[in-house]
Assembly symmetry: none
Homo-oligomer: 194 residues x 4
Amino acid sequence: MARPKSDDKRNALLLAAEQVFAQRGLAAAPTSAISKQAGVAEGTLFTYFRTKDELVNALYRSIKLDLADALMSRFPRQGPVRDRLEYLWNAFVDWGVANPQRLNVLDQLSVADTVSDESKAVGYEPFAEIETLAQTSIKTGVLQAYPVEFVAASMKALAETTMAFMTAYPAEATRYRKVGFEVFWNGVTGNTKS
Amino acid sequence: MARPKSDDKRNALLLAAEQVFAQRGLAAAPTSAISKQAGVAEGTLFTYFRTKDELVNALYRSIKLDLADALMSRFPRQGPVRDRLEYLWNAFVDWGVANPQRLNVLDQLSVADTVSDESKAVGYEPFAEIETLAQTSIKTGVLQAYPVEFVAASMKALAETTMAFMTAYPAEATRYRKVGFEVFWNGVTGNTKS
Amino acid sequence: MARPKSDDKRNALLLAAEQVFAQRGLAAAPTSAISKQAGVAEGTLFTYFRTKDELVNALYRSIKLDLADALMSRFPRQGPVRDRLEYLWNAFVDWGVANPQRLNVLDQLSVADTVSDESKAVGYEPFAEIETLAQTSIKTGVLQAYPVEFVAASMKALAETTMAFMTAYPAEATRYRKVGFEVFWNGVTGNTKS
Amino acid sequence: MARPKSDDKRNALLLAAEQVFAQRGLAAAPTSAISKQAGVAEGTLFTYFRTKDELVNALYRSIKLDLADALMSRFPRQGPVRDRLEYLWNAFVDWGVANPQRLNVLDQLSVADTVSDESKAVGYEPFAEIETLAQTSIKTGVLQAYPVEFVAASMKALAETTMAFMTAYPAEATRYRKVGFEVFWNGVTGNTKS
DNA sequence: CATGAATGAGGGTTCATTCAT
DNA sequence: AATGAATGAACCCTCATTCAT
């Protein structure tokens, strides 16, 4: 069987990797520190992930999946585009604020060259539906005729900026969440109404 | 005096570091590869930079200075806010597209924990004027009453997104540059005119 | 458990260190030479001793323990003071002559600043009984009323001098052993009888 | 000309080496630290001493010469053996207490394998006269019929022990100096009179 | 499957020595 | 002669990975 015996251990290792990467930085994180944090022997890590790279890639996918779940599991399939986009925005931003460590690691991994293109593709997959939504919305004329990918990327970029501010100034978190979305919405609709 | 320390060699090392970091990632870049790329002996690197960390910080500052020069040296001190911001936008984005390697490394360094807070402060300094501009603009009501830092961060985030698209689709670079700025401008002004 | 840490290997490393230190001097002894001499990989040394310093200290303690054993394991708890001191003298001197390398390294380590005060304290412990003996002997008036520590130090100094001569002139070893003790005994008792 | 320009610099380097060796230990003393302490450039050291080893050997000889001067310059060529030996004893011991750093370095050098046999021979030369004295004394029956070298070595060993105690307990220095000599004299004469 | 000792290729850095200035 | 930058071989130690237990 391909799946090793204990999913618990695999998850423990992924979680440990996340913690260690967040604490010490992706670069300076030895596998020994990860296995220790996970409470398993050094060698055990390599029965769950053949190499450190594989672990890193698995973690990337896992975080992306988790984020996708946060965004999509309760995503409203009906209603005005603005509301649905704002739902996405809030879900994204709330996830990031609730999991600052995970967000931090995701940022590190997004720049790291150890994450393969394949992993990036796989990690993107669940977000395809969002793109579809945006595409539809544009076709109905609600959004400006900007390239869809560009709108999505802008949303992501602004959302991550927003998260950084929410984390830095927790007292103003709610305000930043709203303001951030306004900037995005105004930007891509060219509409003054908020 | 004996052989004086040569600026050429120092710059060669900084450039080499940039190249090696871009190629292999900040983490996996041995100093030996850097000195080799710079055409000096391994030990020579350490007469110019006491440690690898010091080299990394010097490179960060150097890139920031270069960027500041690109943005600020011809920056118009007069004229409509929109024009001046668009000037900044174009300068930034053009710099990034012209120096993708340098931008890439700057992104890596901005997340790296080896870059000290002091370096970040020093690197930020030349950009203070931009903040002043934004601040003034907000007071005069041209921009929405968003926190200045947030506007700056949003601009940066959207600009980097824009650069990625310009690099990916060079044929449409000019259009993306314009579109990106529109999104930013609409976003922070809430204005529909482009 | 996995492969347990082997005492054999630990001892092999200590012995190898002793040999390499004796041959090349404490200063110029690379850990690589030690592990090679011990027949293990370079990294293995560091699973038994976290640092080179730790190895040096362990070796110091080990030699001291060995010496203490040589002196004390058959030490006569009864009998005339002179006989008991002579026993100590002979045991010390015989040990040194039998283990010239070990003695040499001990001398090097005794001056080295890498040997911690703690190690020196631990290494001294087993010799405390000797001090007690001397103390008692002095109280009974057999030895002159010199400070105990001073008597002990003098004995050690003369013994090491003696060893050097025994090693240098093996044919006269027995005679030097006797003469050395006489000098010491006469010195601290001020007595002409031998 | 063989002799370099400045004897001052040569001496400064020797003194600097002594200080640095005393402070950091012979092993961990880079030539750069020595030249810095001497106030000359790194390369200058090598115009006065071709290699570090040569400097070490020169320092050894220099210290030995200094010590010999302290012992022999006012050494009484006449008088009872005991007085003359006591003069030597006091001169040696006073020198050591007055120059603890120099003594310390001498001890380090005496064990170091970088000091050549030739240097040791040269360093011993000025002390030959002492040997002659001892030799004569033995022939006249004042000293026991021990090998001369052995007596000399014993004297040295006891004197160094004494110095250690004088340095450790300065308040009792005078007493230790006297006691130490007694032990030595009694030892080698077998005489109870002090 | 789990364990952790064993491995050895690198990594950053030091340093004696050389040599251009 | 004096300087100190340049050199590159070592050095100590880390760490991903293997493998005996």
